[in-house]
Amino acid sequence: MTLHTSVKRNAYYDSVTLMLLSRELQKLEGVEDVLVGMATGLNLDLAKDLGLADNEFDTLTPNDLFIAAKIDEALISMKAIEDAFNEYLNKRVESESDEDYQPPSLSSAIQSLPGANMVLISVPGQFAAAEVEDALDAGLHVMLFSDNVPVEDELRLKQKAVEKGLLMMGPDCGTAIINGIPLCLANAVRLGKIGVVGASGTGTQEVTVQIHKLGEGLSQVIGTGGRDLKEQIGGLMMTLGFESLIADPETELIVLISKPPAPSVAEKIYQIAKSSPKPVVIDFIGGDRAAIEAAGAIPCISLEDAAQKAVKVLRGQEYEDFTGFSLPEDHINCIVDTSVSKLKSDQTELRALFTGGTLADEAMKLLGVHHNIYSNIPLLPEMAIANLPEGRGHICLDLGEDEFTRGRPHPMIDPQTRTEFFQSHVDEKTAVILVDVVLGFGSYKDPAGAVADSVREIRQRLAKQGKDVVVIASVCGTDLDSQDLNKSIATLEAAGIIVLPSNAQAVRLTDRILQRMKKGVLDVC
């Protein structure tokens, strides 16, 4: 064994690098002992104590780096150790620069990504407007996922966007598919000829999913944010999106989705629809059918209906309102009978627990005709959940509303909120539980599994009282989504959940069961 030292003047490395490095050097064949360090007095003392110092050390200053090693020269040379040292340092620098660079601001990100054309913004609402403004000023399209952005800011920013011919999708815009790329919460669907402009996130998702299931695809899906068609904003993005789709050669048919717009805004949309050379399908969920028809557009009764009509018109087929089920009518009757027969006479209530806002809204519209439903998004103010009578009644909740999401992720992203509502809101009086299961990018990795777990737990709880419960679900998702539509359906069915192919059908089945319960059980098929 002989002692060798090597010195690098004015060389600086952080301690972690040197620690890992000396471990590597120690592993080399022929190295008995190695010490790496800055040549401070104490470090040199240590080297001396260990017998790893030589005369050269007397000339060193604390700003020099030394490597001292006892080696077997038959096996390794000091040069080889130095080479290993340098090679390791180079490797480390490379692996560091391989890491994804995250620029600290929007402007530096734009600089670092030449040709950037779209900015997704999901920072807290109070900071969002300033970022949107910077993005628009830089000439980039914006998708604004954040909510809690003041309506004045929305108006100002959308005016700026329209002036520049830029998209400003949002605030509170959950879904869009641009050039086949799903943005934020969106499903994997095939490319095609149908363009969509939607003011409601899950409503848009449901329509795109149904179009995909029917074998057609989407050219562009543009979100506007929920307030776009209110008087104050005046439908600025709906108008821009609509006109862009009319001008887009890839789009052959256009679907518009929104809650009923302000009358003045609706009028603007109808004017564009009238002059549109492409067919226009409109689902203003519960909107004015006659006015839509007068504008030469095709009105719809549900999200699923909108998808079906779009596909049929595109294919040049006849269409009519789709009010029924995909399954044969007698099969549905059988499901209704079997379900009702499972329930005891004091089980009368509906618990609809939605993660998708528009899906909840659609359920309210379709069920509200026949039943009194209490909700956090009531059809009438007196049906607000706070007014639920002591004797209780049906409840339908949009769990994605701010009141439930404060300080926690949206229930589509994290199922915890709904899991808790299953525990707190389902009891021995519950007859039917109705849920949505939304798949796609950004959604929870296994929403079906989370629902199935909750349902099993409830069934166990109710079984102690000799009771069961009817659970109905629809899955908003496709075979291309990472969560996989068919796998999700299988998971739900394995937990005894009745799965319908659309939200509208799930709601309709719920309606049939509730109506049948009112009439009392007939014979079971």
């Binding site: 004015n10 600086y12 490395y13 952080d14 301690s15 972690v16 690098t17 040197l18 620690m19 890992l20 000396s22 002992d33 010490l35 790496v36 360090g37 800055m38 401070t40 007095g41 104490l42 470090n43 240590l46 104590d49 260990l50 604390p62 700003n63 620098v93 560091e96 620069s97 660079y101 995250q102 620029p103 600290p104 601001s105 530096s108 600089q111 670092s112």
Partner: protein, 331 residues
Amino acid sequence: MAIKEVNAITAADDLVEFLENHPGYLARVHSVFPHAVNLLIGEDALVTLTNQDDITPMGLRVDGSGNFAEILKVGDKVVLDLDLFTSINGVFAVNLRDAEIWESRSMMSLDACPGEEVAQIRLNLIKWLGKQSALGLLPLLPRLTRQSMNGKPMVENLYSRHIAEDLEAFTKAINTSDWQRALNLADRLVGFGMGSTPACDDFLAAYLVIFTVVDTLNPDRYPWVREFNQTITSKAKKRTTLISANMLRHAADGKLSRSHQRLIQTCLYNIQGELEYSARQVLRHGATSGGDFLLGLVCAMQWFQYNMTDVSKEGEQAWVELKQPQPVPGI
């Protein structure tokens, strides 16, 4: 080679003050790391540029992802102005116009948590540290904190083995308020360990900051603090690297890099939340070795919790002081 111009995102307030008073200052590149550059000011002060998510006292956080070693080399001259840094060879410039100014001593104006809360945070930090890879001085974590690490073996290294006894004696001396002994032992610590800030310096920096914090919170109650800190920093001037001596000087002044500052805020004031996140940032960032600083911090926190418990309650202060005599160290 085209000029590489980057924007400064954040500038430390002490650097801004320096620039205001020294327009057109000519500095030299002292040392270059992949993500940081030190510029030498005068004989022994440094300005640190980094493009990582951190900033040091007398520092500048700049934009971009490049490797500084590919642009600058030791000895390059850089002209420092309040709005622009430019290297004389024309290859590099930093635009300061849009930078935010960062307060390098921002945590000094707050009231600390009660001792029991600090104790709990400290235990959580020890538990977390026990799970990290035991580099540098970290193998000494169980020994210095008297906490078992659930049977996880802590593999010692040459440095940690060599310094174990001295470090233990040092923490004991501090905990028993034996300041003179602590200072004598510091002779065996300053400059010891690997890296451009040797491990024991990082360890000591945690103590110096905590001392300055309590001194600021309770002026005149710990008359030894200034002298103690000054003695350590003047020892550092001769015994350790320039980079490390700078860090200790700042620490003695209550100044730390932003990631270190956040961690201290989490530990003593329980703000900024997310202990693990703050601790991980310290482990990740900066040219100093975070693990050794963290070890120093959990040791210094023990002293802190002994001394800060109930001090805010008037009337008990005298009793606490009586119980904890505070001899002034002789220099």
